[in-house]
């Protein structure tokens, strides 16, 4: 119960911050990515503000034995920079650079959707789910192949490569 409430509160703060930051305006994101015109440095301040916080707080949080309300931290120990992370980042960069939408703002925009979102978000979900399906299938074909290096045995509720985000 407490954990669910924590998720909701974290989400609320995240969404408010995202909208306040201006990043739910894709043309503002593109004005940052477009180096040739009148450059808008906003995104740099967003990322700087966010990482400025996490780089300090995460140090202390991750020194704890476990989270306050859960049994353990679900974070990958994977450090290998492999082909999929590079190819994935390239494909994401191309998609992001085309429209100015990344997943966070697209979700936040469900609060005030316009036709652009209805073209972008279903396609994004389709792409994300399709890739996860390929991943699951190739893992089933290559069993046993531990892809996740979490702290202890994988509980049944955990999907492959969980916590590797970041």
């Amino acid at each position: 119960m407490k954990r669910n409430l924590a998720s909701l509160v974290a989400g609320l703060v995240f969404g408010f911050g995202l909208a306040l930051s201006g990043m739910t305006h894709p043309e503002k994101v593109l004005s940052f990515l477009d180096m040739t015109g009148v450059w808008d440095a906003s995104l740099l301040f967003v990322l700087g503000g966010a990482v400025g916080v996490t780089v300090i707080t995460f140090r202390f949080v991750l020194k704890r034995e476990k989270p306050l309300l859960a049994e353990r931290f679900i974070i990958t120990k994977e450090t290998h920079i492999d082909r999929s992370i590079i190819l994935g980042a390239i494909l994401f960069g191309v998609g992001w650079g085309i429209s100015g939408y990344c997943p966070g703002p697209a979700v936040a925009l469900l609060a005030a959707p316009n036709w652009e979102l209805w073209a972008f978000l279903p396609a994004a979900i389709l792409g994300g789910v399709a890739e996860k399906l390929f991943e699951l299938r190739s893992q089933q074909n290559n069993e046993p192949q531990p892809q996740v290096a979490t702290q202890d045995a994988k509980p049944v509720t955990e999907s492959p490569s969980e916590g590797s985000c970041g």
Binding site: A10, F14, S21, S42, V55, T79, V94, A111, G128, C165
Partner: protein, 142 residues
Amino acid sequence: MSLSAFLPSLLGGVLIGVAATLLLWLNGRLAGISGILWRLFFSKQGDALWRVLFLGGVVGGAALYYALYDDVPVARETFPAWLLVVSGFLVGYGTSLGNGCTSGHGVCGLGRLSLRSLVATVIFLVTAIVTTFVVRHLFGVV
């Protein structure tokens, strides 16, 4: 632009960092939107609700902001719909394959000093900058 014009962006960024801190400190989870969203479709019982609540919170938080300030994003009427579909698919597929997006690799990954996330962040930033140039200036799509 004066420096104060960037204040909302900085404050918004700080709030995003606070939210990521809350989720990790309380629940032990990284606030990567792409991972939380794509895995929702594969999550087993007991692993889905926190994702729905977090994502619902993101929508609710943005809704609160839009209710307080007159800043609702307006669609670009001339932007081709098919390009948005292509862009969406690439964003979904790429963030799933690369295990993270701006929030997962950028905010959380850099926060925990992950070299893997730094590499991913530099790659998608550079790729996005090149892509924006090509789309806007070589193909003239705005």
